[in-house]
Amino acid sequence: MHDVADGHPSFLQHHFFEPEQQAEAAKLGTWLFLLTEILLFGGLFCAYAVYRAWYPDMFYEAHLQLNVVLGATNTVVLITSSVTMALAIRAVQMNKSKQAIWLLVATLAFACTFLVIKYFEYSHKFHLGQLPGKYYSFTGLEGNNPHVFFSVYFLMTGLHGFHVLGGMGLITWMIVKVSKGKLSGEYYTPIEMTGLYWHLVDMIWIFLFPLLYLIG
């Protein structure tokens, strides 16, 4: 690179003039990425809407098989993790690295809790044969094509689960970055962007929970 220009901070990439321009570019890029995520999930929400309209009674009957208590617990867990995430960003901005690390670890722990609860929900359903599509073998439900409900349920929560995993990866990376002293009140774009992503993952769950667990 020719122009590591004089006086430029080390985090500033060569093709930007100033830190503010770089931060704004990162923000715009992240929002665009979040938009693609919404459209990705949009396909599944659309499929949900179509089949709920086709089979309203079956959707009602099938949703009773979901465990509202576990779902609600997970909702609280995820919202709390969003709070700790936001506090972690604040801590980095205030140059309180140690506090930031603890808050990030807490966020990670909540994310783990979410997935563990999801694991128990899934394995219970697997056990009962409430599997998606042609693997569906549960006999306790009347009505039209109940396997379609479980296909939609597993696809939506499964895709969301992958996003939780991805978020955990990002949070771990941020823990490394903060503990190496790479982020500070002067430069905190990466953790801010991680936060935006994490809130989106949270938001999607907030839509999934009532749509799947609280029908009728």
Partner: protein, 540 residues
């Protein structure tokens, strides 16, 4: 403007600074990444072209000429999938756009250079999946992968659609990068309305790439799950709806048509002004019509499904909305014509392709309006009329514009000129061959020749034969082009900074440009089309 009387290639430029294979494979330079994309897409263009010639060879006579019907089904699927997903969608944005856009804006690079490199590797990974499908058991569904057939056939639908799913990420990366680059990295003085129209066109394209591509992603995830788990979303036997698949598919794939054509229009907006030596007519209208096309493109997907069992009301609405696309497209064509009017037009290769574009795209566009009209579509649906229409738009439009761009920017990319005489010969062959191939298909289509058939009635023999000969004429044109373009890289005479006398930013820097694009911080002193006030001396 410096005249550089004896043109020389700058000793250090992006091609040789730094040296070594590793410096290419790990490069973050948008110019190198653009070039790597160019090599990759040209490889797949060759592959898709060979499939096309094999198809036309088979259709020379109604008998079995070179392949059986099963192979034929795979062949047209491969032709469509390779040409669309591996060639035409990345062609202008990822290859030429990557190279030119930052130069045009006076930027040192795109906003996210690492993401840019990642997009190329993701593209290669997606391509590997498609090649794997190709060598094992290619899909025979057509490039649209319609359910329920695509969930039943025993061909490699999963690896093909997984390949397309992965390619989608590379397309999103490019689009996202371009939007942020245009918003945040314009040089001082480069206001929105002083940007070259190429930047406006790629901006509209990038919006579509970002908004539409995730939908095809989730569609193919659902399709793959349908094959693996029988989830019953698209399979009527399991309580699903195959028409829902078509809605999902076209919600992406119709905007994708504009992902293909908008960057083509973006190139034409440049070349038509440069080679008419006249200020572009209706700058703002051309700029906004790109956004207009992008917007309307999300509202017309249902015109692919007039015969698929959607409600009559929906069909009428989609038909009406489809007509709206004609308005911004018409605005563009008339503005280009008005730009040429009383200009001093020089008929060099890029302009010849530009004129080819204007003629062929207009035919393709107007027949698109025919097809958008419900009553006519019911009649010619799934005939060669449709095949001819989209080839006039995709090849007559996008590919001609791509070739205009290749010939226009080749001296900037390599610093050397190609042989103009052979370029004219190749252009003539491609233009004539193209019309031989596809105009006959319009006629066959109106007479009822259905598309995707491996054989046909004796009455269509003369036209099918003529069409096939045309395809080989196109092929000959491309062989000549390959020879003189590659020869230019090694033996062409140095082109100088500005061989066409253009006012756009990318011609201010040397050819080929240095590693950081500009040796000095570029300053914008004039608009990109101020040919009425500024005398430019070409360095050729």
């Amino acid at each position: 403007m410096s005249t550089a009387s004896a043109n020389v290639i700058p000793e250090r430029n992006y091609l040789n600074d730094p040296k070594g294979l590793k410096s290419w494979l790990l490069t973050k330079d948008h110019k190198r990444i653009g070039l790597m994309y160019l090599f990759a897409i040209m490889f797949f263009f060759l592959l898709g072209g060979i499939f096309a010639l094999l198809i036309r060879w088979e259709l020379l006579t109604p008998a079995v000429d070179i392949m059986e019907h099963d192979t034929y089904n795979k062949m047209f699927t491969l032709h469509g999938a390779v040409m669309i997903f591996l060639f035409i969608i990345p062609s202008i944005p990822a290859a030429l756009g990557n190279f030119v856009l930052p130069l045009m804006l006076g930027a040192k690079d795109v906003a996210f250079p690492r993401l840019n490199l990642a997009s190329w590797y993701v593209y290669c990974l997606g391509a590997l999946f498609m090649i794997y499908a190709l060598v094992t058991n290619p899909a025979d569904t057509g490039w649209t992968f319609y359910t329920p057939y695509s969930t039943q056939t025993n061909t490699a639908v999963i690896s093909t659609t997984l390949g397309v799913f992965i390619l989608g990420f590379s397309s999103i990366f490019t689009g996202l990068n371009f939007i942020v680059t245009i918003h945040k990295l314009r040089a001082p003085g480069m206001t929105w309305f002083r940007m070259p129209l190429f930047a406006w066109g790629t901006y509209a394209t990038a919006i579509l790439q970002v908004l539409a591509t995730p939908v095809i992603g989730i569609t193919f995830v659902l399709l793959i799950m349908e094959r693996l788990l029988g989830i019953g979303i698209f399979d009527p036997a399991l309580g699903g709806d195959p028409v829902l698949y078509q809605h999902f598919f076209w919600f992406y794939s119709h905007p994708a048509v504009y992902i293909m054509i908008l960057p083509g229009m973006a190139i034409i907006s440049e070349t038509v002004s440069v080679f008419s030596h006249k200020k572009i007519f209706g700058y703002k209208l051309i700029a906004f019509s790109s956004l207009g096309i992008a917007f309307v493109s999300f509202l017309v997907w249902g015109h692919h499904m007039f015969t698929s069992g959607q409600s009559e009301l929906a069909a009428i609405m989609f038909s009406f909305l489809t007509f709206l696309v004609g308005i911004p497209s018409g605005i563009k064509v008339f503005n280009w014509l008005a730009t040429m009017y009383r200009g001093s037009i020089s008929l060099e290769a890029p302009m010849l392709y530009t004129l080819s574009f204007l003629i062929l795209f207009t035919i393709g566009g107007i027949t698109g309006i025919f097809l958008g009209a419900l009553a006519i579509d019911i009649h010619v649906h799934d005939t060669y009329f449709v095949v001819a229409h989209f080839h006039y738009v995709m090849m007559g439009g996008t590919v001609m514009a791509f070739l205009a761009g290749i010939h226009y920017w080749w001296p900037k990319i390599w610093g050397r000129m190609y042989n103009e005489f052979w370029a004219k010969i190749a252009c003539a062959l491609i233009f004539i061959g193209f019309n031989m191939t596809f105009f006959t298909q319009f006629i066959m289509g109106t007479q009822g020749m259905p598309r995707r058939y491996f054989t046909y009635l004796e009455q269509y023999q003369p036209m099918h034969g003529f069409s096939s000969i045309g395809a080989f004429v196109i092929g000959a044109g491309f062989v000549i082009m390959a020879v003189y373009l590659i020869a230019a890289i090694f033996k062409g005479r140095p082109a100088g900074n500005n061989p066409w006398g253009s006012l756009s930013f990318e011609w201010l820097t040397s050819s080929p440009p240095p590693h950081g694009n500009f040796d000095e911080e570029p300053v914008l002193e004039h608009g990109p089309y101020d040919y009425d006030t500024i005398e430019v001396v070409a360095t050729k």
